[in-house]
Amino acid sequence: MLNEDRIALMTKMAAYEASQGKRDISVSGFFRGDYISFGVLKSALCATIGFGLVIAMYILYDIEGFLTDFYKMDVAAFVKDIAVKYAVVLVIYLLISYVVYAYRYSKAKKHLKKYLSELKQLEEIYRSEG
């Protein structure tokens, strides 16, 4: 015998699982700390690549001057200057990433809480059907 309420609930849950639920469920497989750390690590990689590109552009911007002054410049001071700038960019970028990933995790958990309550509801319907 087909129970229409149960099918409606299952349809709703299957639709969620097929769309947003896919991501939410994968997020829920992580502990909060692990999920955020992993996201922040990926962001750090992106920030490093991005910073490298910016430095490349900076050198290209005045490549003639750079090549002329290269043998005269204090390389250690130059590298230190770049390292400080890299650290500042990285810290700002990682802070933003931390906030974004923490928000995403809490949102996914919120959606999953609703999904779990629907699962319980489904279980009760099954029990009542005997």
Binding site: L2, I7, M10, T11, K12, A14, A15, A18, K42, S43, C46, A47, I49, G50, L53, V54, A56, M57, L60, Y61, D62, I63, E64, I96, S97, V100
Partner: protein
């Protein structure tokens, strides 16, 4: 108002029934407009500045995810720039990679905004995008609208300076080629106007998002109103701070027109639960279910039934007249 609600419901019904086709057609139209605009503005590579190529690529794009469409459009731009000047293509490629690094990390679902921002700029209503994203996106959507703005200004610069950029390609002198990097970077990224719009739009997205999320009545309308005010104020203050020349009337008029458009979009799209038709499959111990769930209509389209009250085909039929009177009383 009821008529508008009925139109809204009919749109919902239509969208629910033909969602797969409508999305494909919209993607096709969007990619075609974007490709045509790129070809019209740049058009340096004859091989891809071709109607047939645009049509084929647009058709392919209609079945691709939005983010892939963004990459294809970026590839088109780079191919055109490569034909114009290698240095220019290299710099734009680096800027694109930087933007993608930001965009794919923080707002990968706003691909539509990245494409629509330059298109709206060309239509002189760029303010529509940040105002809309404040409602449908997240604060990180400011990355998408920023990327769109940068792309628009870079393309504008290349279009305006194509002759000079082409000279750097024809020059065989390596020193001249190296020097041209400075000229290109200054031109592409040194625009104060671009910086102003990136900042203004980021502020608008965040302000609209924060206010519409407040648990107060009419928060969406307040958010739209404040979004308009903040947009105008930030742009005008930025104009004087960065010494950018901009038509004040144009900013105010453009923002108001954009707000009107957002208001209409808000009525037809934002307030509606365009729950799409869901085709889902699942199973229990006894059955496999293949379910197509179609969202319900909440306002019924009225059945137009013309009843002629003063028409009698038979004067003697008194009973009929009495029936009509009864119906009038009932109505």
């Amino acid at each position: 108002m009821t008529t508008l609600l009925v139109i809204k419901e009919q749109l919902m019904g239509f969208f629910s029934r033909f969602e797969a086709y409508i999305v494909a057609v919209l993607k096709f139209i969007l990619s075609m407009i974007a490709l045509l605009l790129i070809n019209a503005d740049l058009g340096f590579m004859q091989k891809i500045d071709n109607g047939a190529i645009v049509l084929i690529v647009s058709l392919i794009c209609s079945f691709l995810p939005m983010n892939l469409i963004v990459l294809i459009l970026a590839a088109f731009i780079l191919l055109h720039l490569y034909s114009l000047s290698l240095e220019c293509a290299v710099i734009v490629a680096i800027v694109f990679v930087l933007m993608f690094l930001l965009y794919f990390r923080f707002s990968p679902r706003d691909a539509c905004a990245v494409i629509l921002t330059p298109i709206c700029y060309m239509l002189k209503i760029p303010y529509v995008v940040p105002l809309t994203l404040g409602f449908v996106g997240t604060p990180m959507s400011c990355v998408s609208v920023g990327c769109g703005t940068v792309v628009y200004y870079m393309l504008g610069y290349v279009k305006a300076n194509a002759d000079r950029l082409a000279k750097s390609k024809s020059s065989s002198d390596p020193e001249s080629a190296l020097g041209s990097f400075k000229y290109i970077i200054d031109g592409l990224l040194g625009s104060d106007k671009m910086l102003l719009f990136v900042i203004a739009f980021a502020v608008v997205v965040v302000v609209v998002y924060m206010i519409k999320s407040l648990p107060v009545d009419y928060s969406w309308k307040i958010a739209l109103g404040l979004g308009v005010v903040v947009n105008i104020l930030v742009i005008l203050i930025g104009c004087s701070a960065l010494e950018v020349e901009l038509s004040v009337g144009g900013v105010i008029f453009g923002t108001l027109i954009s707000a009107l458009i957002v208001f209409v979009i808000q009525f037809f799209i934002f307030n509606v639960d365009y729950s799409r038709t869901e085709n889902v499959q699942f199973e229990d111990d006894e059955y496999f279910y293949y379910v197509k769930a179609i969202p319900k209509m909440s306002v019924e389209a009225p059945d137009v039934n013309v009843k002629r009250m003063n028409y009698r085909d038979d004067y003697d039929d008194y009973d009929d007249e009495e029936d009509d009177d009864d119906e009038l009383d009932y109505l």
